[in-house]
């Protein structure tokens, strides 16, 4: 991963004595970025598909699945960083947007199963089971991949917009905002758990067969999804970086520090918060859509309050307002989880808990804080 410099303005320019704008990425950061892109798009596929399994350079299917999954989660962490790290709004409901994106994709994948389900029906199994005779209205567009792509962005986007508009307009701040986002995702979880809601209840969607006509469980399809996820992650990183280096990003930080002052400077914080909130939600939606075909299941558990808190934890572990930090945090925490649940199944929670405590106590600015000590005090 690259190490984008966090400072936006740092070097005073010779001519005016004024600082110049920070570039989108510094030279070494560009190099790191391009290298990461190369790894994702070329090295990983080669190592997985063409290097023979007994070679030490071989990348196992398991690793592909694992890293693919974590990259999706890292997108969420990145989205969380925009809204929490830069704007100071702690969302405890980002899991909802992730799940919504996932459900949109899941609906498409369910339809792709066609008549190969248990009941050999055009309808998804759980609908046959509930004695439904036709698709409910909210499944109308689910057989179109194009519509699915639009909805993956639109559904979380619209939900976030409506919710955010009212919340920000009412000047709900701080923990009050955090708690209502939690209430939102919790309510959504209960709603999705209900079988009558039409999303498969507790089981959610699983047992997918195809995506765009390609079998979903082949190494090739999986690698394509992996590459797409990698590109999405790096793309969102670049997008986020661009956003925060623009004046937009500085207004966000200003909102975080002194919202009243922002208003008296003529900015409408509602618009700014809403914009970043919706962008952040849509990023999560994309992450969810990429996640579902890779892990093969989506269910309301993703909307549980704990799942959303975890996203915040990744961001905090990595280091807020650093962009790269949350990605690192997502990799570290989830990697540790995957590793420890096997090597120390009975003790891994101690390690993970201790990790969180240690990070807060000894690395107040997260892992990235270690790399830039003394940058801000």
């Amino acid at each position: 991963m690259d190490r984008a410099p966090d400072r936006i303005v740092n070097t005073p320019s010779a001519a005016t004595g004024l600082p110049t704008r920070a570039p989108l990425l510094s030279k070494p950061a560009w190099a790191a970025f391009l290298f990461a892109l190369l790894v994702v798009c070329a090295l990983a596929p080669v190592a997985n598909l063409w290097v023979p399994p007994d070679s030490p350079l071989h990348l196992s299917d398991y690793a592909v699945a694992l890293v693919g999954k974590i990259m999706c989660l890292a997108i969420c962490a990145l989205a969380m960083d925009l809204i929490w790290g830069y704007t100071g709004i702690l969302s405890l409901g980002h899991g909802l947007f992730f799940a919504l994106g996932g459900y949109v994709m899941g609906m498409y994948l369910m339809r792709q199963i066609g008549r190969e389900g248990n009941y050999r029906s055009e309808l998804p199994d759980f609908m046959v089971f509930l004695d439904w005779k036709e698709l409910p209205w909210h499944w109308a567009l689910s057989d179109s991949f194009a519509a699915t792509l639009v909805l993956v962005l639109a559904v979380p986007g619209v939900v976030a917009f409506v919710f955010g508009y009212f919340a920000f307009r009412s000047r709900i701040k701080g923990v009050y905002f955090s708690i209502i986002t939690q209430a939102l995702t919790y309510a959504a979880m209960l709603l999705f758990f209900r079988n009558e809601t039409g999303f498969g209840g507790n089981n959610g969607f699983t047992d997918f067969k195809r995506i765009l006509g390609f079998a979903i469980a082949t190494p090739q399809t999986r690698m394509v999804l992996f590459v797409l996820t990698g590109i999405a992650l790096l793309g969102f990183l670049l997008l986020s970086r661009w956003l925060v280096t623009q004046r937009f990003g500085r207004v966000l930080q200003a909102v975080r520090d002194a919202e009243t002052r922002v208003m008296f400077s003529g900015y409408n914080p509602v618009h700014y918060k809403l914009a970043v909130w919706v962008i952040s939600a849509m990023m999560c939606g994309v992450a969810g859509a990429l996640y579902v075909p890779q892990v093969g299941i989506i269910n309301p558990g993703e909307m549980s309050p704990a799942a959303s808190i975890e996203i915040a934890v990744w961001a905090a572990v990595g280091g807020r307002a650093t962009l790269v930090g949350p990605i690192v945090g997502a990799f570290l925490v989830n990697g540790a989880k995957s590793w420890l649940t096997v090597t120390a199944p009975e003790f891994w929670l101690y390690f993970l808990g201790a990790l969180f405590i240690a990070v807060t106590l000894f690395m107040p600015r997260g892992l990235m804080g270690l790399l830039r000590r003394g940058d801000r005090s």
């Binding site: 398991y62 999954k69 079988n195 507790n202 089981n203 047992d207 558990g301």
Partner: protein
């Protein structure tokens, strides 16, 4: 799949998160069975090496761990899962990688996979007999039914089947009250009040498919609200000895549960099983069980599963999935239930006896009714429309 002198087997039960309450003990049961087998020389002359992982009650993590067990650890078989959703989550992985899963918990049926052996009960091995009993004279001759469950697929399916069954017995829709509560629901005041009200309309029984944590508050409320088993009996399908550990059972005496095994059944196989478990729990210092060892139905099912797999491997002389699947057909095992459990020749489910037990003051069950012998499982319940056309055999098996 066999490396050197050991054969690896995976154990995939949640040791943390909400399901740890139920699943942890299955991990220990599996470890006990493996230790026993190893003590007797292992399988095919090789020792079994358990690979324990913690999927942490997280369904996607179940799938990930399965992939890891099958591709990284190359285990010969996996014993695991409790909830149906976790099974659904791992199923595609087992099918893709042609692995082998032994699933030890009663479930809703409506599924058959060549890569799974179901050692828990199908609805006809638990729910249907229980309701028949409730309607009988001894069971109290119930005429009205409250179907109370946690809102997820197992209770929903079971209740769908039961509704159809009750209908076939002439029970009117107005005499059936179906209710669901969310997972983890902890305040049953309203529900119990509703049951009380409903039961004023005639002899009523409650069929509870409440799962997990909600059972304790439900039973506590029931006890304190004065609903006695002789007035309104509750029969539960997910409440066993382990669940009652957390409840003061004195007010619950007489409420019922239906299972394929109770710790209290008396027979030599069970005596041995419970003794071994008590000794094992003590030796391994298993929290809770070292002081008060309890066995239950899913533990028995886990135990049977491991032994049957061992027998099948020995019969096949290989741990190759397809060969083991073929060899599993018709395997028998003298189960702690006291009966000879048999793996069906075709449908991957066990033939098991059905017991109905009444709660005793000590948290154990008195068996008040049982089937004369093992019952064949019907994973495709005849009470569900369209199931009559289903094959009683997983697809793709014939390719072996």
């Amino acid at each position: 799949q066999t490396s050197g002198n050991t054969i690896k087997v995976g154990i995939l039960h949640s040791l943390s998160g909400t399901m740890a309450i139920s699943e942890t003990v299955l991990k220990d049961t599996a470890l006990m069975a493996i230790e026993e087998i190893n003590a007797k020389g292992g399988v095919l002359g090789k020792k079994l090496e358990p690979v324990v992982v913690d999927p942490a009650s997280n369904w996607p993590l179940f799938a990930e761990k399965t992939r890891q067990l099958l591709t990284q650890d190359k285990v010969a078989a996996v014993f695991g899962c409790w909830t149906s959703v976790s099974r659904k989550s791992v199923l595609p992985v087992f099918e893709e990688l042609n692995g082998l899963l032994f699933y030890p918990v009663q479930y809703e049926g409506e599924e058959l996979s060549k890569n799974v052996f179901y050692t828990g009960a199908a609805p006809n091995q638990q729910a249907i007999p229980a309701v028949e009993y409730l309607m009988s004279k001894d069971g109290g001759g119930a005429k009205r039914f409250v179907l109370l469950g946690t809102d997820y697929v197992y209770p929903r399916t079971t209740n769908k089947i039961l509704r159809a069954f009750l209908k076939s017995k002439g029970v009117k829709d107005s005499d059936i009250d179906e209710k669901y509560t969310p997972f983890g629901h902890s305040d049953y005041q309203t529900i119990v009040a509703d049951i009380k009200k409903f039961s004023a309309g005639g002899k009523t029984a409650v069929i509870s498919t409440i799962n997990g944590d909600s059972n304790v508050p439900f039973y506590k409320e029931l006890g304190n609200a004065g609903l006695k088993a002789k007035d309104v009996p509750v029969v539960a399908f997910s409440v066993g000895e382990e669940e009652l550990r957390g409840v003061d059972t004195k007010p619950l005496v007489g409420h019922l549960a239906a299972w394929n095994y109770f710790m209290s059944v008396k027979n030599p196989a069970n005596d041995e099983f419970t003794k071994k478990w008590a000794a094992y729990a003590k030796a391994k210092n298993i929290a809770g069980h070292k002081d008060k060892p309890l066995t239950n139905d899913p533990m028995e099912a886990t135990y049977i599963g491991i032994y049957m797999w061992k027998q099948a491997v020995e019969k096949a002389k290989s741990t190759d999935t397809d060969k083991v699947i073929a060899a599993m057909a018709g395997q028998t095992f003298k189960a702690p239930s006291g009966f000879m459990a048999k793996m069906d020749e075709k449908n991957h489910h066990l033939h098991k006896p059905v017991f109905i037990g009444e709660v005793r003051a000590d948290g154990q069950f008195n068996v008040v009714w049982k089937t004369p012998g093992p019952v064949k499982a019907k994973p495709w319940s005849p009470f569900i429309e369209g199931n009559d056309k289903k094959k009683d055999e997983p697809d793709g098996k014939s390719k072996v």
